[in-house]
């Protein structure tokens, strides 16, 4: 049976609070934890199949043009080479998240440096790797001087998210205090630790692909469409995904290539991208240039709010880094201007990288707010508190729950925020200037359609199945807890099976919507089972009390006794409804950071950082906290070290490895403190929760930038704030 729930209004039943097991929200360790720490959890490239061949992608060493010929014969004569695949159905660039249709094909038409256009298949990795390096091909490359590479000079198109209300210019001119500041942020890579990988098997009628993907529910449509197969002929398995951060949202080059090779050769084919290929052909986060204009009255209340941004992408790509997403509603100001431009350039596809939009829009806005606080002589926390709007200032809609004020106050207190007058260069520890800074956090809340099957077995155990993934986010844990709570089971008696498209379609992991969407589907399925159990027990469902595998009451009965040899299975189907027309919904938070800046070298290190986050219900205190911690580490990276560097001549990515693209290391990360400011948000989802996966990085880089200024007096308008930039702006 399928039970459908479409969320057209707040779900005030709060079904999860009716459970008696007492596991929901607790800091339960991940059920798959032992498999991960012992190396026994299988990731996509780690399944063993007899006669498995190995494919290595061949990429274009030029920026734009076309491949005119491939000398397969020479390649096939090389040691161990079995085939050269150059099928026109191969993927030229990854699908954007949620595309649900074949990504760009025609791989011989080269649009960016490093674009894969062929696959060399051999009997061993070593042989395939060598042959792929030496596959002879001819090409016609466009003159690099004719190729738009610089987003500042390239042609632009208007992106989504623009709006105008009132007269910002007038508000700026007549304001008591105003700031008009411009920033740049450099591109980012997801750099998930597991490179993109797939093993494809074709049995003559059906394709099975073990692939590292975040959203099998969309990826199956993308792959089927790319291969001209119907979806029932395709199965995708992604039980363990070694990090995604947006890079595995859409079908990418290795999976299609493995599938085509397996179908052509009739043998399993494994394709794993090299780290360099991941950097060069998977999504980048666009660089940006941004201008923020803020005008306040004498009390520090915003009268004008402007946020404009320019980002880039390949011609024809719909995605534009949604920089202004949270600027639309975060602060008040009746005179508003938001505008986003997309420059068309030939670098690898720009797409979702953890917290697309807010990851770079929020730090810039929050750095500008710090300038405003200084200009107006108002404490930065107080300035934000004074500008929390009653309603979404653009749409006029009420918010679902709004935790910003709570997070600002509780965070400030826990951090020991000094609300006294602020001046840079007041604290020194030897060679180091010490300073503090803060920022608000906001991330729009999304939900997606989700289905999950829950089966209560005759022996009193339960099974949860969906093609939803756990990319490190904690899906295995929270679905275990939801089912255990709803059905009154010890979590050890709940088995969660994920990442297989033979199961009901989940929402996929992305946009921070995974937990609340699939969690809602599981709640709905469990609720239906509870109804059936109540009926069977001859009691009203509201009186049903399930705990430790027993129906509680004057005479407790075990579930297996009640089930009497049968089982109960329900498919929960959660669907977002019209409620988004009635509310604006976002997760909120606040960051506080203390940094040290070396007065000689400009090196910056984060001493301590605290984040207070509100996102409705906490499903698992441990995994939710970990999500926030992870986001804060990304704040440190994007504030201080992470930058994609592109060659100015031909536009290729020069630092395409983990030695030179500097993700934070252990030593960059101090003790991080996370406060979970919990509430119930019945309008957000059927679990009364909002997204948390990305919130932890939405603004924190701004807190670090503000702390750098407070420490050493260098007011930087560029991210990341590497020592060269700090030194250039640091007063002597």
């Amino acid at each position: 049976m399928t039970v459908h729930f479409k969320q057209d209004e707040p779900d005030t039943r709060n079904l999860l609070d009716q459970g008696s097991q007492g596991v929901i929200g607790t800091a339960m360790s991940r059920p798959e934890g032992l498999a991960k720490v012992t190396g026994t959890a299988p990731y996509s490239a780690e399944y063993r199949f007899d006669d498995c061949l190995v494919g290595v992608l061949v990429t274009a060493p030029f920026t734009k043009g076309r491949i005119t010929g491939i000398d397969k014969e020479t390649a096939l004569a090389m040691d161990g080479v079995v085939a050269v695949i150059d099928d026109s159905r191969m993927t030229a660039r990854p699908a954007q998240g949620g595309a649900g249709e074949a990504p760009q094909q025609s791989p011989r038409q080269i649009c960016y440096y490093g674009q894969p256009f062929a696959l060399v298949v051999a009997t061993s990795f070593e042989k395939a790797r060598h042959a792929a390096k030496h596959l002879p091909f001819s090409y016609e490359a466009d003159d690099v001087s004719d190729i738009p590479l610089d987003p500042e000079t390239a042609e632009t198109e208007a992106g989504d998210g623009g709006m105008q209300a009132g007269d910002l210019a007038h508000a700026m001119a007549t304001a008591e205090h105003a700031v008009d500041v411009s920033y740049t942020t450099m591109g980012h890579a997801s750099a998930a630790m597991e490179p993109h990988a797939a093993i494809a098997q074709w049995d003559g009628g059906r394709l099975t692909v073990h692939a590292s993907l975040q959203m099998p529910n969309y990826n199956i449509s993308e792959l089927a469409d790319a291969l001209d197969l119907t979806e029932d002929k395709v199965r995708i398995v992604s039980r363990y995904v070694g990090g995604g951060f947006g890079s595995k949202l859409g079908l990418s080059e290795e999976t299609t290539a493995a599938a085509l090779a397996a179908m052509e050769l009739g043998k399993p084919v494994k394709v794993v991208m090299s780290r360099q290929q991941v950097f060069q052909s998977i999504m980048r986060r666009s660089e940006s240039s941004q201008r923020v204009r803020l005008a306040v009255d004498a009390e520090g209340r915003l009268t004008g709010f402007g946020h404009e941004a320019r980002v880039s992408n390949l011609p024809g790509e719909e995605f534009a880094e949604p920089v202004l997403q949270s600027s639309a509603f975060l602060y008040a100001g009746e005179n508003r201007l938001l505008a986003l431009d997309v420059a068309r350039i030939h670098q690898m596809t720009a797409g979702s990288v953890r917290a697309p939009g807010e990851a770079i829009g929020m730090p810039v806005l929050e750095a500008a707010m710090d300038c405003l606080a200084e200009e107006a002589g108002i404490d930065p926390v107080e300035l934000r508190l004074r500008n929390i709007p009653e309603k979404d200032p653009g749409k006029g809609l009420p918010f679902t729950t709004h935790e910003l004020a709570d997070c600002l106050k509780k965070g400030a207190e826990a951090f020991g925020w000094d609300s006294g007058p602020r001046k840079p260069r007041q604290n020194r520890d030897g060679e180091w200037w010490i300073g503090t800074g803060m920022a608000s956090a906001a991330r729009v809340h999304n939900v997606a359609e989700a289905k999950a099957r829950v089966t209560l077995n005759a022996d009193g155990t339960a099974r949860v199945q969906s093609d939803m993934t756990d990319i490190g986010t904690g899906t295995y844990a929270i679905l275990t807890q939801i089912a255990a709570e709803m059905l009154g089971l010890d979590p050890a008696n709940v088995m969660v099976e994920l990442g297989d498209t033979d199961f009901p379609r989940g929402p996929g992991s992305g946009g921070s919507w995974g937990a609340v969407s699939i969690g809602s589907a599981v709640v709905i399925a469990c609720d239906a089972i509870r109804q059936s159990l109540a009926k069977k027990a001859g009691i009203d469902a509201d009186d049903l009390k399930l705990k430790d595998g027993k129906l509680q009451g004057s005479q407790p009965r075990s579930l297996s006794e009640l089930l009497d040899g049968g089982n109960m299975s329900e498919e929960g189907h959660y669907e977002p409804g019209d409620i988004s027309d009635d509310y604006t919904s976002s997760s909120f938070g606040a960051f506080f950071a203390q940094v040290r800046v070396n007065r000689h070298t400009g090196e910056t290190r984060v001493d301590r950082m605290l984040g207070a986050f509100g996102f409705g219900r906490v499903l698992n205190e441990k995994t939710a906290r970990s999500q926030c911690l992870g986001g804060m580490v990304w704040c440190i990276g994007s504030a201080l070290t992470e930058a994609l560097h592109f060659d100015p001549v031909d536009g290729h990515l020069v630092n395409c490895d983990l030695a030179e693209y500097h993700v934070p290391v252990h030593r960059d990360v101090p003790d991080l403190e996370v406060m979970l400011v919990e509430s119930r948000d019945p309008a957000a989802s059927a679990v009364q929760g909002k997204g948390v996966g990305e919130l932890g990085m939405c603004g924190g880089a701004g807190a670090i930038a503000n702390a750098v200024y407070n420490a050493c007096g260098a007011r930087l308008f560029e991210f990341p704030m590497t020592p060269d930039k700090v030194l250039a702006d640091m007063p002597d």
Partner: protein, 166 residues
Amino acid sequence: MPITVNDRTHDLPDDPRVSLLDFLRGHLGLTGTKKGCDHGQCGACTVLVNGMRINSCLSLAALHDGDAVTTIEGIGTPEDPSALQQAFVEHDGFQCGYCTPGQICSATAMMDEIANGWPSDASAELTGEIKPTPEEIRERMSGNLCRCGAYSNIVQAILATQEAQS
């Protein structure tokens, strides 16, 4: 001479190009050791060779005849995990889990290095006893990237294990 991996001996591959990492993963099926970058830039492939942690991706298998290799599979199993592995679960010292075997192999060796009094870049003095402070642990674990950002929890897991053992 053959190579010994987790107390079992194996013949080395014929192709001298096979890295120790690809030998472990591809030839022996010991896929607990991960390939994150294949160039010594992430630490996911960390294993112990004769007790010393190394990046198995940057070493040719053929150079390891006679060596004794310990991989994550030799450190503990789901049925019998090491104290450190248990602490990683308890403290949520991982998220996606891909860097985790490398982190654990690395930390296992690191505890011995500290006990041996080996200094690090974070040590104030080059000689004398080394205290396993968070800063020491962070510097010594910096060869193991974690993109999920589980660093704080990893340090907590290591500290808890250190404390329980001392």
